[in-house]
């Protein structure tokens, strides 16, 4: 572990507050902290399904620089983060459902390749890295096509950066 969580001093314990507004501000800042950590955890767990580059900036970011936010700005920040967390959870759920259906399709392709002739399924759709593609192809080319011999094959992976010819000595 790069930085032990045990070493982090949680200094955000509730303290006596002088006014209701300050209590509200402290509460909002606590909520912002929790939501920000939740969003970070979703991004870190879901990568590469969800890329950090896909996350839009919050509309609440209108202050233009570091400052002490007003109560309204803190509320907008909290609401924006809550919306973002909800949106990211939805994206992750959709992606998980998409990968599940892709895995089911692959299973069906393996069981009955003849029903899925020339169907291609990139491994990225299954939530895996790399450039491989599962494809239903005829065994022995034209003969297999005519005879109905179908098989599921996985392509060899990502293309070489300079092409096959350049890789030769």
């Amino acid at each position: 572990m790069a930085q032990s969580e045990q070493l982090v001093i949680e200094r955000g314990a509730p303290r006596s507050l002088e006014s209701p507004e300050r209590a509200a501000r402290a509460s909002l800042k606590g909520q912002i902290g929790r939501l920000e950590r939740e969003c970070s955890a979703i991004v870190a767990d879901a990568f590469p399904r969800i890329s950090p580059a896909d996350i839009p900036a919050l509309e609440a970011d209108v202050v233009g620089g570091p400052c002490l936010l007003t109560l309204e700005e803190l509320e907008r920040m909290r609401d924006g983060l809550a919306g973002r967390a909800q949106d990211m959870r939805r994206r992750v759920d959709e992606r998980v459902a998409h990968e599940r259906s892709a895995r089911e399709l692959l299973e069906r392709m393996r069981l009955e390749p003849g029903r899925y002739k020339f169907v291609r399924l990139p491994v990225r759709e299954l939530g895996q890295g790399g450039c491989g593609v599962w494809e239903v192809r005829p065994r022995l080319g034209l003969i297999g096509m005519l005879a109905g011999w179908w098989q599921v094959k996985l392509s060899s992976g990502c293309p070489l950066p300079r092409g096959r010819a350049a890789a030769r000595p």
């Binding site: 902290g33 990568f47 970011d61 002490l68 936010l69």
Partner: protein, 230 residues
């Protein structure tokens, strides 16, 4: 087998000094701190000239250690996460204005490694990657009195140089007794950062809630020791 070389001892005055914090800032962020150390440049050459072989080796080692998965996952580590949360609480979106450690991670990915950019930059980068705590350097000759954190006044210049940009009211700044020297988490104002001929530096780091003081002291001490080496 030979004994390993002894670890360098910390100088006696290695304890960082505590900067001041304006009352309204302290009330809003009771755990916000500014820690400072003074450093004297040990080598005779320019601070912006090439680094020592040891520093360049360390950069290469860090480049090899940190890869793509780290660049994405760093945001959930405790110290970077604490800075992200603080960014939100002061109105910054860390997806737009990245925290220093995430900016370094992105640079590492885009450039294929931590590229040496002169002794000072390299030393600050190494301490950032090691601890996730950003450290900034000011030319100590340009600092007038103790440093602290306060809000800017409307139209106040950023720095003391002619043509300094003016700040809007309420911006959080690092300031000395007479002027704002840097926007919080921003680079020092023109003419106040450490340059090629700087011999004495004021190094400072910002401590936010959730960041152990030990990490910050380590970051400052790492920078100071590297800069003071001959």
């Amino acid at each position: 087998m030979a004994d390993p070389p002894p670890a360098p001892e910390r100088p006696e005055d290695s304890e960082p000094a505590l900067g001041w914090c304006a009352r309204e800032v302290e009330q809003e962020f009771p755990e916000l701190r500014l820690l400072l150390v003074q450093a004297r440049v040990g080598r005779p050459g320019s601070l912006t000239d090439g680094s020592t072989p040891a520093v360049e080796d360390r950069l290469r080692e860090l480049s090899n250690r940190f890869r793509g998965a780290w660049a994405v996952g760093v945001r959930r580590e405790p110290v970077p996460a604490a800075y992200r949360v603080f960014f939100r609480q002061i109105g910054l979106d860390p997806e737009v204005l990245r925290t220093p450690i995430e900016a370094a991670a992105l640079e590492r990915m885009l450039r294929g490694g931590f590229i040496s950019a002169g002794l000072l930059e390299d030393v600050l980068l190494i301490s950032l990657v090691d601890t996730s705590v950003p450290v900034w350097a000011l030319d100590a000759e340009c600092v007038d009195g103790p440093l602290g954190i306060r809000q800017s006044k409307e139209g106040e210049p950023l720095g003391r140089s002619a043509g300094a940009p003016s700040l809007p009211a309420g911006r959080l700044v690092i300031a000395d007794a007479s002027a704002a020297l840097a926007v919080l988490f921003g680079e020092p104002a023109p003419g106040h950062g450490a340059g090629a001929g700087t011999r004495r530096l004021t190094l400072f780091a910002v401590v936010v809630a959730g960041v152990p003081a030990l990490y910050v002291e380590e970051a400052l001490w790492t920078c100071r020791m590297a800069l003071e080496q001959q």
